[in-house]
Each structure stands twice: as C-alpha cells, then as structure tokens.
Subunit: 892 residues, 2 copies
C-alpha cells in the first residue's frame, strides 16, 4: 500500500494518470489523465481507494494524517484558482464525488457546492451579483448535505423527502410553478427552513465550518460504498467489495450563472448509429442535472439531423467555444482510442471539461465504431472484437422496441427470447396456427407450452407463458425459432375457459392487442413501435475477424432442414443437437407413434415404427443435405413416451377411435406411463434399453439417409448420440445395437459411411464415471440443461416459484439455467473432460445445453478445452463472438 493518500490535479499537471484506475477510481483517473493532456479540467484532488479501506479498518474514521494531506492539496487548488476555501470575499466551492474502479452509476453519493455557508454565500452573492443563483446553490447544498451526510435521504420512493416538501410548499406559497420561478428572497428563506429541518430531524446542526463540511462529506462517500444498493450492485456485477471507492474533490464550475454559461454532454461519434460525427446536447444557463432530468429540452450542439434549427446550436451561438470543444473531442478520441462521452460546462464564457469516459452505444453503433476505427488505423482487429459485447450481437439480430415509444407495462416476466413483437392474443396453439396461416400477427398466451404447441408457436409472432423458466419448453423452442418470448410471467393470470388474462388489474381478452419485449420481459398494452435491427457490412466484417481469433467451433441445435439453413447462414459449423422427438409430433406421424406406444408386443411396436421409418429417413436426408460437409449430431429419442399421448378426455377418445382401440386401453396406458418425476423417469437411453426397436428404427433411418445422400454426392458426417447415460454398460449395450444396425444397413446398401457414436453427459453419475464411459464413446456432448437440473436438484419447470428470489437475494449469483454454474455443474464438466480425455485422448467434446449460446458459459467451455459449443441458430453469432473474446482475454 502506497503511503500517499491524496493525488492532486490542476494546471495541466496531475499526480495520477488513466492507468491508476484501481488507486484513483475510473472517474478520478480520467480527471488526472485529462489534466495531463492539457485539457481545461477544474483543479482538484483524489483521495485514493486505499484510504477507503483504511477508513473501514480504523472503524469508520479518517486515518491520521489524511486531513493534513487534503489541506495541502486544497491549498494548491486555492493557489491555482486564486480563491480561498471558506473565504467570505472570494470563496472556493468544491464538489465531492465518489469514483470506484468500476462504474457503479447512481449507487454512491455526491455533494455539490460544498464550501457555502452563511458568510461565503453573502460573499458569493456580492461577487456574482446574482443572489438568486447563490441561494439556489446554497439550498441545494444543504439538502444534499442533509440527505447524504446526515442520512435524511428517504429509503423508499414512497417516503417524502422533507426538503422537497418544503420546496413544494414554498412554491405554493409564492404561487409559482417551477423551481426557477422562485426568486432570491424565497430561496434565502428556504435556506433557513432547510437548516431548521436538519436541526429538527437529526441530532446535528448544519455545519458552517467548510472543513467540517468537507470531512463529513468525504466520510459519507466512503460510507456510501457499503450502502445496501451498492452492495447489491457489486454482488450482481461481480465487483469485489474490497476495492473501495476513491473520492474526488474538485473546484465547482457553474453553467447556470447567466447566458454566457451553459452545460452539456457530447459524444465523439453518434452513439445511436456509430456514424463518425460530433453529436451532443446542451442547455444555456443550466446545471448538469437539468440536461439529464429532462425538465428543459436540450438543444443539439450542431446540425446533426433533420428538423434542427441551426440558430439553436452551440456551433452558431458560441462558435469559438464550439470549435474548442470539437478540438477536445478529437484529442480525447485519439488519446483514448474509443468513442468518448464528455461532460462540459461553460462558465462565463470559459469552457471546462468535467468528465470523459467511454461512451455507451447501441449495438449497431458498437459494431460500426469498432470496424471503422480499425479502418482508421486507430485500433487493431483484436481490440475491435473486444469492443462489441456478445449481448450487443444478440440485440443486433432481433427487432427492438423503439426506445422513444410510449408504453403501458402491465406485467413483467423472464426475458426468454429477445426481440419485440406486437399481436393479438390467442390462447391455443391451434388458433395461433389457424390465424397465423392467414398472416395475422398473433401472440400465443399459455400457462406453459408442450411439444403439442410447437406448431402454434411457429405461427405466432411472440409467445407469453405465465409459468416456466429461461430454459422452459417455451423458452427453448422460441429461441430456436428466433421468436420473441416472455416466460414465467407470474403477474399474468390466465383463464382458458373464459378466454381472458389478467395483469396488474387489466383484464385482457382474446383478440386484444399486446406488445411483448423478449429482451426485457415486459408485456405492454396495444402496439408499441419497434425498430428493425439487423446485420450490416460492418457486422459481416467484424464477424470475419471474430472467426480468425476463436478456437472453439460453434454448432447449432436445430431439428429441421429449414432451421439448419438459417443456422448455417449465422455461421454454424455443424449441428450439435438434432432432437428427433419433435419430428414425431407432426400430424402424419403422431398417430403411428401412438400406435407404437399402445402396442402390446414388440411385433406390434415394430409394425408401427415401420410406418414412421420412411418419414424419419426423409427428415434426416433433408438435414444432411442442408449441412453438406459439416457434422450432424442426432440424438436418439429422449422424452418419456407419455409426452406423446393426449391428456384431455376428448383427445383420448379421438386417439382410441383413430386407432380402433378401446378407450379404456388408451386411458390405462396413459395412467401406466404416468410418472411422479418424469425428469428422472423412463426416458433417454432407458427407453432404448427397454424398447430396443425404437432406437433400431432411428439408427436405420439415419444411416439409410446418410448412405442415400452420400450416393447423391452430399458429404455426410453423421454422429449418433445416445442420451441420458448414467452407467457405462448402458452405452456399451446400445453402442452394440447401433453397430449391429449399421452393419446390416451397409450390407444391404453395399455402401458405407463414416459415422461416430457418442453420448450426452447430462447425469452427474455419467460425469463421475467418465473414465469408463469414454471407452465406449467417440464423443461427449454435455447436456448442461439436465446436468444443471440434477446437479442442483432443481426442476427447470418448477424453479420459477423460488429461483428468481434466490438471484434477487444474492443466494445465487445468476440463474444457473441461463449462466452455467461453474462451481458445481462446471466442476462436473471439467472432471468428465479430464477423465474422458485421459481414457481416450481423441475424444471429441462439446456442449449442447442452452448454455452453449451464453457468453460466460462459452468462455468456460473454451477454458475447459471443449472442441465446440452448440446453441440455437440465433445465438450462433453470439457464441462465435464469445469464443473469440475468450481467446483474446486469455492472451491478454
């Protein structure tokens, strides 16, 4: 720990620099950096983050010697500015702001105008000849001091702030509407009233001594590091608590002293589009917060778009200062080599920079700026790739709500599949299909969805469920389809019988128009305007760089040739998971499937399966063709058979009639197949063991399709995947079945194809016995959805009742169905990889759970040495980006 506690900046010379982020905080480090660059930054000093730690170590008190160092730095400020702290004639006022190494916007506290007291206020009023300005500043300071330092800030939105109450009363008494309508005398009265409030509501007096004010404010900022909001924010964003915050004490400058004053925010490039042009907004005679709070509408600094009156721009009104600002803009961007978000204030004709930081930007802007900066020679490709977050890639590929549009939110659920959609409510999949086919835009609203709803989901523009989590059926299928989807929306209560849903007191009926935002999870009344995002030349170029860097392959989870084509367009390098069960739900097969389930003998089952076989073969042919030259991993039947039987009495009757069976037989079968915990029941390879004929039919269909397509010149690379292995002998047995069928098919066809046999690792025991299982497997695909369920003892369909609360209360860092749990599930994945590779070095390793498209999880897969990740088509570009960034982060 360095001994120096206070770092001075001012007069083009600072004791710190941008590289001192951990010591001086992000904001502080940039103030020092800008000062060194010769930019006009009001002088000040930074109390280091180490002092924050000391503060807590010695029991929330100033460590000895700190005040002396602060006094020394303040003296330098006084010398630089020719004003004196606490001097009645020419007082120096300061701001006191927090500033940690990582941005925690709005979490910690700030005090402005510090140094004002009854004496200095009088002096200032004389000096500026602007009593109104001075007492407005003074009353604001007292209020901030009361709130921040003396703990008078209300803890909830519902409690009134006593200072606000007094202000409102004053306006009423004076018969005015706006704060700015109050004159100097009224504000002077308010100052006294504010001081009285402090006396009444706290055991303290408002201190007149500026040093007492300053010490108290610095201590308050340190304490704000540990306020509950800040703690929660850090927990959520993975910011270590031991870092502490720095405190920046800086000379005040004022944009609200008259018409030669102004304040504004500017971006070095357009943050919406990324276009290389100066973009900013400002207000004459205003304070920084006025721009943000939106009480007055700010003007643009230049003619940056249609409909702007040139006369209102800073460029026209203060051309010299504008030109100066533009110069700073170029200097800052060239220096930081990234788009900057600058705060400036003009006080009495002099331009000050108060802050610079990397600017927030939309996804399209992020891509364009990164790519253009490479073209400009400003950054290299690696830096460009690191500049665009995977989440931004996600945004790019889905329509978004127009951020400016008005909306009435009536419910909020889990943001399961990004993008926005507006449509009319329907409550059944059949209705959704019927109306979707007529090109009507419908939102399918269900308590939850099942495979029987897939056809309706396909025809809906958006999906809403009141139950289920981020990997619920609805969520998975919707993401696969790229359909906006909100799930687990407990605020919505659905009544199928009456065809209504209720949300926050609004009763909505079938056919009512709603909008849902799958990016935020919000449900809104009526139509809300959307903007279409999408690819661009910049995007394409960026993605070629991404592919240059990454080591991890990215495959996709698709079940149909059509989706395979889409996924390939998104850059998929094969299919990592082709689920065969969805194929059985199509109208022409479900009956044969049900016949198979109801059959009393193996012969009966084989007869029924023989009807499905040619259709399955056709499915696989289409997929092999779409994936010409790329590997296709096909999972054999996985779900429990009861999923294929109807549950409603009418449907049961229909099935019985169609198959010419007694309804009692169908009902009895349904009951016999019922399971208490289907997740842990007769499914996956257990079906293949009990009814080998099902897997035999599927393997035959796959390999006949492969041989057939190969004869037509398609390069087929089939990988047959056996699900739900928990014991090596299961895989050994089923591998033999697959090989037996393969031999038969190749003999019959007088041809053969290369193929692999592998397994999902989705049961903890399979991971634990990896060394044995690897002996019978050519590849592993980690089914991290089920592996998460079993490792956590957590059903994804049921966890909605408590899992969100767990994350809110920081009992878990994240929903483990969204972000792979590296401590538990990840430990099993790692163990299985290490032991599997030791037993069989050429073992191919991949992941096909939903985590395969989630950036942090992709990075984990990279570090763990997997060969590929596989995810839904729309997440393929996200995974590519995450995989590239994982490499770059590693080499850094």
């Amino acid at each position: 720990m360095t001994d120096k506690r206070v770092y001075y900046f001012g007069n083009n010379k600072a004791e710190g620099s941008a590289s001192d982020k951990y010591l001086l905080g992000g904001k502080g480090a940039n103030l020092h950096e800008m000062t060194n660059l010769g930019l006009p930054v009001p002088p000040g000093f930074t109390v280091t983050t180490n002092v924050c730690k000391e503060y807590y170590e010695v029991g929330e008190r100033f460590p000895a010697g700190l005040e002396d160092e602060m006094r020394g730095a303040l003296q330098k400020m006084e010398e630089t500015l020719g004003r004196k702290f606490g001097d009645a004639a020419n007082p120096l006022l300061v701001s006191v702001r927090s500033g940690a190494a990582f941005s925690m916007p709005g979490m910690m506290d700030t005090v402005l105008n510090l140094g004002l007291n009854d004496e200095t206020a009088k002096g200032m009023a004389k000096l500026t000849n602007n009593e109104r300005f001075v007492y407005d500043s003074y009353r604001r300071f007292i209020a901030m001091f009361g709130d921040v330092v003396l703990g008078m800030k209300p803890t909830s939105k519902h409690e009134p702030d006593p200072f606000e109450v007094a202000l409102s009363k004053k306006k009423r008494d004076r018969g005015v509407e706006l704060d700015s309508d109050l004159d100097g005398a009224a504000l002077k009265e308010l100052v006294d009233e504010y001081k009285a409030l402090i006396r009444e509501l706290t055991p303290h007096q408002f201190p007149q001594d500026p040093w007492q004010q300053l010490n108290a404010a610095v201590g308050a900022v340190f304490r704000s590091w540990n306020n509950p909001r800040a703690q929660t924010y850090r927990a959520l964003n993975g910011i270590p608590s031991h870092l502490g915050t720095a405190v920046n004490v800086q000379a005040m400058v004022f944009g609200n002293m008259g018409n030669d004053c102004a304040t504004g925010v500017a971006f070095t490039r357009d943050p919406s589009t990324g276009e290389k042009r100066f973009f900013g907004e400002y207000l004459i005679n205003a304070q920084g917060e006025d721009v943000v709070a939106g009480i007055r509408t700010p003007q643009t600094i230049n003619v940056s778009g249609p409909g702007i009156d040139p006369e209102t721009t800073l460029e026209r009104k203060m051309p010299e200062l504008y030109r100066e600002l533009d110069g700073f803009r170029r200097k800052l961007e060239a220096h930081y080599k990234d788009m900057q978000d600058m705060e400036f204030t003009i006080q009495e004709g002099r331009l000050w920079l108060l802050q610079t930081r990397n600017g927030k930007r939309t996804a399209p802007a992020a891509v364009r700026i990164a790519v253009e900066m490479v073209h400009e020679g400003m950054i290299d490709k690696k830096t460009a790739v690191m500049r665009v977050s995977p989440a931004q890639i996600d945004q790019l590929l889905h329509p978004m709500l127009d951020p400016k549009a008005q909306r009435t939110v009536v419910a909020k659920g889990l943001p399961a599949s990004p993008g926005a959609a507006t449509g009319r409510i329907v409550f059944s999949a059949d209705e959704a299909e019927a109306r979707g086919r007529k090109n009507e835009r419908v939102i399918l609203v269900r308590v939850e969805t099942s495979p029987e709803d897939v056809h309706g989901m396909h025809y809906a523009v958006g999906i809403l469920t009141s139950r289920g989590g981020m990997t619920s059926h609805a969520a998975v299928v919707a993401r696969g389809m790229g359909r906006p989807c909100v799930v687990g929306c407990g605020e919505v209560s659905i009544d199928y019988a009456s065809g209504t849903m209720t949300a926050r007191g609004h009763k909505l009926r079938e056919n009512d128009l709603v909008t849902l935002d799958g990016t935020t999870g919000e449900i809104m009344l009526g139509e809300v305007a959307t903007v279409q995002a999408g690819g661009s030349a910049s995007f394409d170029e960026l993605m070629t760089w991404v592919d240059e860097f990454r080591r991890l392959k990215v495959r996709t989870n698709v079940d149909t040739p059509e989706d395979a084509v889409i996924a390939r367009r998104f850059g998929a390098e094969g299919i990592g998971l082709c689920r065969t069960e969805h194929m059985f739900f199509q109208a022409d097969r479900i009956l044969a499937m049900r016949e198979m389930i109801l059959a009393d003998s193996e012969t009966g089952r084989r007869t029924a399966l023989a009807k499905i076989a040619p259709m399955q073969r056709g499915d696989f042919e289409g997929i092999f063709k779409a994936m010409d030259g790329l590997p296709v991993t096909i999972r054999l039947l996985d779900p429990p058979l009861h999923e294929f039987l109807p549950h409603e009495e009418a449907d049961i009757r229909a099935v019985a009639d169609a198959l010419g069976r007694d309804i009692q037989v169908v009902r009895a079968k349904k009951d016999a197949l019922h399971e208490f915990n289907p997740m842990l029941g007769l499914r996956g390879c257990r079906l293949g063991i009990v009814h080998a004929e099902i897997y035999e039919m599927q393997v035959r269909a796959i390999l006949e399709a492969a041989v057939h397509m190969q004869k037509q010149g398609v390069r087929v690379i089939p990988e047959i995947m056996i699900p739900l292995i928990s014991e090596p002998r299961e895989l050994q047995r089923l591998r033999a079945v697959v090989e037996k069928v393969a031999k038969a098919v190749f003999d019959e066809q007088s041809a053969s194809v290369e193929f692999r046999i592998g397994t999902m690792i989705e049961i903890p025991r399979a991971a634990l016995l990896s060394a044995e299982i690897a002996k019978h497997a050519d590849f592993y695909s980690f089914g991290t959805n089920d592996l998460t369920q079993m490792t956590f003892g957590l059903s994804r369909d049921d966890a909605g009742s408590f899992l969100p609360g767990y994350v809110e209360q920081s009992l878990l860092d994240e929903d483990p169905f969204q972000v792979l749990d590296q401590d538990g599930v990840g430990a099993l994945v790692k163990f299985a990889c290490e032991h599997g590779r030791k037993a069989k070095p050429q073992l191919k390793l991949g992941i096909c759970g939903e985590h395969g498209g989630e950036p942090k999880s992709v990075e984990f897969c990279h570090r763990t040495g997997l060969d590929y990740v596989s995810c839904s088509p729309f997440r393929v570009p996200i995974a590519r980006m995450a995989a590239a960034q994982a490499v770059l982060r590693e080499t850094k």
Copy 2:
C-alpha cells in the same frame, strides 16, 4: 503358474490341501484335506483351475501333456483300488465334477459312472451279479454324456429331454410306473435306444473308449465354466471370470448296490436350531440324488426328535458304521472349526465320505453355533462375529413363513420389508385404521402410498403396493415400522372402485385373506403358517462382541418417542434422522398446517403456525426424553407443501369448509403448488428460505423442548439439520436464522442448551461444494436416497418400470436404492467427506439414507471414515453387525 496340472488324492495321502482352494477349487481342496486327515475318501485326482485357463488360451483344447498326467494319476487310482479303467473283468468307474474356488451350486456340469461301455457293463454285471444296477447306471451315464458333453441338454424347461421321453415310453410299454420298476432287460434295451438317440440327434457316436469318454467329459466341464447360467451367476455374485474351474475325477462308489449299501447327508450340528447334536438323513440302497430329489422319504440317522422310530435309524441298523460316521463328524468339525455338511455313501458295508463343506444354517442356528463354539474354545470372538451375516440378523428380527408350509403364490414383487404377515385385504388407509383398531389383522393394498396413508399403515399387519421401489414411501415407512411389506408388485392390478385386485388370474376382493412375505416378495392366497423368530441369550451375547469391535456408531431414523424407545432397545446410539413432517399429518395438526399453506400473508402463516408450535414442542420433548444422553438430529420441514393438501374433490371441499375458505381458493392453491417434478421443486431448505417463519417455528419448538427437558434433568443433545442444501449461502442464511431464534429462546428461558447446526448432503452440488458448505456446518448427514436419485437421474417412485430389468440384465450390479452405488454416489460422498474435513477437521459425518442399514453400504461408510450410520430401528442390529465385520475384514 505352477507346472503341475494334476493333483492326486487317495490312500490317506493327497498332493493338495484345504488351503489350495484357488488352485483345486473348494470341493477338490476339501477332498484332498479329508484324504490327508485319514478319512475314507474314494481316491481320485483334481485337474487344476489353471488348466481351465490354459484350455481357453489354446482354443478350447487340452494343453499338451495334460492327458499324460491324467493317465499317471488314474494309474495310481487303479493301483489303490485294484481295478482297471476300461477293464472288462474288473472295471474302474469314475465321476467327473466341476469345482470352482467359490461355490456355484448347480451352475456347472457333472458326469457320473464314466468308464462304462458295452464291455465293461457286461463285466460289471458278472462281477456284481446285478444286471439291473449295472444297466441302470449305464443308461444314466449315456444320458448325462449326451446332455453334458454332446450338448443335448434342453435349453428351456419347456423343451423335452429326448432321454426322458424314451424312458417314459419304456415305462408305458412295460406297464410300470416307477423307474425302479424297470428290470435289467428293459434297461438294457434303453441303453441301445439312448445310443441310437445320440447317433440321430448329434453328429457323434457314443464313444466306447473310456479315455475318449474321460477327455470329452473333462473338456465339457471346462466349457461349462462359460455357459450363460454360470456367467450370470458369477456376475451377480461378483466372482471373477478369470478364476476358472477345477475338475475332480474320482472313483465311483455306489450306495445302490443292495441292502448293505446306503447314502446320506449329515450335519455336525443341527442346522435349524444350532443345537450341538448329530443330525442327518439317509436311505438304504439308494443314490445320492434320491435323497435330494425327494422321491423316497429319507430316514434320520439317529433319534433326533419326537416321533422317530428308533428301528429306522442308521444308528440301530448299522451301529458300527454309525459310530464310525460319528467319529468322522467330530474329527471334521474339530478340524474345520465350523459346522460341517457331510455327504457319505456306504457301499457293501464300507463307509465312504464324498464331500464335506461348511453347512448352511438358519439365522438362529448361525448365532447359536458361533456363540457356543466360542464357549467351547473352538473359535475366538472375532471369528464368531464374522460367522453371522447381517442378513441373518435381519431374519432373526422378523417373523418368518414356516418353510414347510404349503402355499399358493399369486404374485411376486420387491421384498421391501422382511417378515411375513397374514390378514384381510383392505384398500384404504382409513379402513385399515378402523379395522386395525378393532384388533383385526388387515393387509393394506394400495397402488402406492403417500404420507396420508401412514396412519393406516400403522394399523395394518402388512402392506402391498403395485408400484414403487425398495425405497418408495411404502417401503421406507414399512421398514421403519418393522411391518412386512411388498412393493412394486406389477403382477397385481388394483381396482379401487370395485374393491378388487387381480393377480395371475385370481380375482381377490376386499376382506379376502392373503399372506405376504416381505423377505421374498411373494403374495399367497389364504393363511400360510409362520414361525416367530427373535432374539436369544446367544444373540445378546454375540451383539456385545459386535459392539466391542466396531468403530462406526449406529443411530436410528425415527419420528416418534415410541419408535425411539424401540430403537434404543435395538442398540441405537442416538437419532440420526427425525423427520418432522410426519408430525404434521396427525389429525390435530393437519388442519392448522393447511391453514398455514392457504394463508395469504406471512402474518396469516405465523398465526397458523402458532397453533402447531405447542404440539411440535410436545413431540420433541418426548423424543428428547426417550433419547436421554444421546444425540437427536432433527430435520426441519422437507416435503413440498402440496403434499399436505388433499387431492380429491370431496376432500378439497371438506378442507375449504373446515377452514371457512372458498373452495376455489383451495383448488387454486393446490394448482399453484403443483409441480412437474416435485422431487426437484420447492422443498427442503428452499421452503425455509421462502417462508422463514416455518423454520423459525420449528427451531423454537426444538429448543424450547430442549430447555424444558434439560430443566427436568434430561441430558439433551439436539442437532438441527437443514435439508436440501445446494449452495453454501443457503446454509449460511439459515444458520443465521437458527442462531437468531436460539438466542431469543435462551434469553426468554434464562437457560441454554448446547446444540449443533448441520445439513443434509443430498444434492450432488452440495457434495461438490463441500469445502465451502463445511464452513457453515457442524455436521453433515448424507441423505443417500435423494443423492442417489439425483446422481443417477432416477426417481425412486418411477424407476420400478425399468430398474429391476437393469439388474436382471446386469446393466447394474444392484438396485442403487438398496445398495449404495460406490462408483458414483459413493464417489460424491467420499469427495464431500475429504473436502469437508479438510475445511473443518472436527466436522461430524453420518449417513441417514436407507443405505445406513445395508451391510455393504455400512462397510463403505466405515472405509470412508464416517462417524455414524443411521437406519430404521429394525435395521440397527444389522448395521451394528456390518460395522463390526467391516473392522474385522479390514484387519484381516
């Protein structure tokens, strides 16, 4: 590998001994040992197990030199007996028998009377003057040769054996009923017909050359080592396949050559009671298989019980030989230091011993023999403890079916809780209770049971379910109660509506009398006589030795003071698992529980809980008192709340009425609480997180009870156990809740008790994060039931549809709910122990899953270094025995 392939025995001198079990097989080693002891064993030789391996290595052929060694040994036999192999005048006949290191009864093949051919048969007939005897032996030899050597043995019971067919035909033709009624001429004809059958049905001729016969028979025995039956038996019994079998070639002796001949089986002590007296059965003029097959009723060798005519005994009929036999009996038992099962044959007034081995015995006999042999100075206590298997301890504590009783088995399920019971069928728990209260003996028959059935199970004498596995609710509760129980009996089809059950075509109605055997899983019509087993002075003495040796403590899983008293009597050293949920099902509490569940607010829930609190406190007081001085681990509420709500419409209405709530509310709550996979849902500590008030009430009840009982002089050692932890922060949070309540209670009561806070490890992730979880735990209790379910991805309630098949087909060695899966689940247990102890060396470790009473699992717990196991009261003695044997096996 030794070079010597053939070991001779004969004339009181053998080349091997009892210690050569692996080389000569168990049977062979004992033949050598008996020969060396000077006992009259027919001479012979043993071909070693190594030759079996060689036989397979060289491609199922005799290794070079083997025949020469065999010829040498046979020559010695000829010299000893003065007969010659293949000699027409005075032929030597031999038996050829398998004999592996471990007994595999009936799995491999035997050929008798080898050496007979057309010539030697004629010679024998002249020599013995008994043509009938000789041709009967000859035709039996040909049939065995055909079956065993030439592969004519039918592969299923439904196929006819051609030799049996010919024999039957012969009897019909001659108009006789018994084999023994056929005369020499008829048997001579049969010999020719048998030879013709071999010619017709195989490509071979029956060989006349005795050496060709012998070589073929020895090879056939080697091949029988790998027949499917033998392979399956080895897989099931964990016998390594590489051991191979030895072959014993021994001179034939005949007990069926006339009235100076006999054959019999004798035990050195009574195998039923263990009493120290000579016990055996014999037949004059008979073959060994006649005694076994039960065609003739054998006589006892002495007056060993009431109703025996002394004139029929061997003791009276052949007093010299009996005395000789009794001498051998003493010699053998003194030599082997265990009760022996001897086979003897008397040929023409001369006594031969054909086999000795440790005798099978009933459980009471095992205990008595072991204890008395210690008293006799024959063995030490350690040996005595190793002589009684834990399964025998189990048998001792439950009534058993009388082995001699007639029975009609109509179904077979899983043997879930041992013991036999006869009673009248009832189909509902209420009915069971109503009639049980009137002291009627009823069998409760359900598809499955739930906590709502517990009161009825308590009043039933036995329980039968058509669904569920060995750890299903019915099985667990029944074992806990010591009630005989058969579960997962799929052959039984139950129709509640008509009050009938169907099994193997029998339709049974309510009130019909049935008997079930929880030790075998069989269901029988009507009453079948039972015998009461139980403790004894010998048993008590043995168990004190057991307790001297074991390190592992044994606790019990009980929920009531009554059961606690029983468990203590069985030797329980504390409670390892007290489930609190069963307490809520009692009539006086379930309503308050339901009121709590239906409450709309925390306040409402607290009000309802306050009604339950005093009753809970009373429960715990009783348990603390019963367990004075011993630790009591109490698990906080674990099952999902929906288990406490009724499911039938009428019951829902009743609850709504009782609580004065709208039926819609009750129904809606039931629906809202419904879960797809309740095993993985909102239960265990998740309930405690979501509704802290429930756990607060329980902790308060526990500690108030503890303080109260302590004031009354009871030594209380409460351990509060939090279930279903998957994340360290859950335990951290709930530990704080427990400590807060404890402080409040101790302050209020001005007293405190020592107590521990711990957790179940029952979710894989908890085991994986043990190093972190241990920081917040004073103890771990492994809940291996749930840990098995999640590690295997296997619901114990649903696994019945395929798990038995897995075990039958050797896809799994055992049902993992019965025997702890050491490879997977055990690996997690071990990992959690190691990492937990590393983080906290004083961490107490136990297991409270059903495996805690299963011997192999107990041994695993011992080896893994757990502090205790906990199991249902009736399994406590089993666990004590297994724990002691684990120590003794380790030191061996």
